[in-house]
Amino acid sequence: MAAPRTLFDKIWDSHVVERLPDGTAILYIDRHLIHEVTSPQAFEGLRAAGRRVRRPEATLAVADHNVPTSDRRSGIAEAESRIQVETLERNVADFGVPYVPLLDPRQGIVHIIGPELGASLPGMTIVCGDSHTSTHGALGALAFGIGTSEVEHVLATQTLLQKPAKNMLVRIDGRPGPGVTAKDMILAVIGRIGTAGGTGHVIEYAGAAVRALDMAGRMTMCNMSIEAGARAGLVAPDETTFAWIEGRPFAPKGEDFARARSYWQTLPSDPGAAYDREVVLDAAALAPMVSWGTSPEAVVPITGSVPDPALEPDPARRAQMERMLAYMALTPGQKLAGTPVDVVFIGSCTNGRIEDLRAAAAVLDGRRIAPGVRGLVVPGSGLVKRAAEAEGLDEIFRAAGFEWREAGCSMCLGMNEDKLRPGQRCAATSNRNFEGRQGPGGRTHLLSPAMAAAAAVAGRLADVRELA
């Protein structure tokens, strides 16, 4: 009998075109998602070499990183951003690549729309020139971010040269208490294993708490695998997955769906499959999490305090903590709860799905944002925006004093005009709190949508469980 294999092993094995003598594999890529920021140089390379796109029908393009989230009907005012989107439009036209235009209601963040349209499916290999491609692993697909040279490689060959990753299992047992979400679980995982803890690995998330998550929650978890150093995260596909996929526009239909589903059911890791590393957490022991530093591993429960560098024995780590505290303008021992915020950002490929907006709106319903605080809601896609409007969530956000914007990456990475000003402090549902990430000098606290809404109401970081 064959040795038991993990979900990763199975997807990997079924996509190896050829194994080169040194162990490098030519890995076949089923889906290639492209956007305006990391693709122009790849198409330029194709043109220079006289190469074509090998499989346009396996490729899907959308502009998301660098697009305005204000009214876009009159075009993009900023010249460089406009040129980048126009370049994408010319490239997809020249090479015959399917494209979701900026004014199409289905436009949105590439990692939101891939699953939403049914373009991302279990068992696939999916790549994109963006590190948060790990998101799609929530469907049980092997999905990871690549650089622009690799984007060009996939466009030209529909393959990548890869060495197999190691397997890591993150098992989250038990049941999370009220106010504890997928975002809190993944922040706790990153806090535990560190930002390099998953380097060289693919993380498979398992356990009762993961199994109980809806697809949005699973995507939030897989999305931030890269913040733990892992290029890909995975959740085994199950009934929750299949029910979520069925009926999506690009997913198989009817008989085809039934056949696909029986294949997908073979994907979960075999009993007894070996992992190179295993980490176990208890969901019941978690509280809502918030980051205090400029690395996603610098997190504490909202009930906790800013750690004291003086207690850190390693001098390099101590210096790093001191630098983070100086940048964040926090003092050792200070309680995180009660820290005043200037901006609240709800959106991103981490937390820009309809479920995330519902969670935030539930907290904001009948409440007002604190005076002086700017609140932005940036839906992950046009379809998310429409769904939210159909449910009246936009009215709740507007009545609370939030801006209700068009879909895009927005203030997650501060590439378009949605930026923090120097010194501003932001409660953000996004994924990175690096120095200057949301704008030069901006200070980011990562947290869940419900916690972001609580911060908006209180005007300071607050425990959503204590909001009366």
Partner: protein, 206 residues
């Protein structure tokens, strides 16, 4: 791609861990559609003040390190975003080798595609090389890829590991797309075998 054979250069010490690619080049400089000209934005927030003037205390603004060809840093170098603009900015500045205890996976890959050699060495060795680097112009490091050694100013040689396939591509300046296309028949056969699979439906023009 320019081949990488031996590099004898000034090394700049950057004693920081978790240097993320947003720090190497912030997102606001990714609006270009070119690969070149990004060197001026390398480490923008560390290199320039709010008014855009050089910060005199940052290593790459000081002689002789503003001519550095090697960068030495601490753990988890290149974490975060997959932006290849990070190695493009390093290359455009003149850095062709980064030495650190370990690297984030995507950045590590991206380096090789651009003729930059990332070398992982134990922290204690990195710290010793960093001491060499602090000596400046009189202490050039030499990286010999064929022999897989870093030569310290005192002549001591430190061996390093590198993937043989990547070494071959770097030494010869080979484009890996060209290499893969030599296996086109295998890719054709793989595709033919799974054409019509319901699990990978082709995407229509939306």
């Amino acid at each position: 791609m320019q081949p990488f054979t031996t590099l004898s250069a000034i090394a700049a010490p950057l004693p920081m861990a978790n240097v993320d690619t947003d720090k190497i080049i912030p997102a606001r400089f990714l609006k270009t559609i070119a690969r070149t000209g990004l060197g001026k934005h390398l480490f923008a927030a560390l290199r320039y003040d709010e008014a855009g003037a050089e910060r005199g205390d940052f290593v790459l603004n000081r002689e002789p390190w503003r001519h550095a060809g090697i960068l030495i840093a601490h753990e988890n170098f290149g974490c975060g975003s997959s932006r290849e603009h990070a190695p493009w900015a390093l290359l455009d500045f003149g850095i062709r080798c980064v030495i650190a205890p370990d690297f984030a996976d995507i950045f590590f890959n991206n380096c090789f595609k651009n003729g930059i050699l990332p070398i992982a060495l134990p922290r204690a060795v990195c710290d010793a090389l960093m001491e060499d680097a602090r000596l400046g112009a009189n202490a050039r490091l030499t990286v010999d890829l064929a022999r897989q050694v870093v030569v310290r100013p005192n002549g001591e040689e430190i061996g390093f590991a590198v993937d043989p396939f990547r070494k071959h591509l770097l030494l010869n300046g080979l484009d890996d797309i060209g290499q893969t296309l030599e296996h086109q028949a295998a890719i054709d056969a793989f595709e033919a075998a799974r054409s019509g699979a319901v699990t990978v439906p082709p995407l229509p023009q939306p």
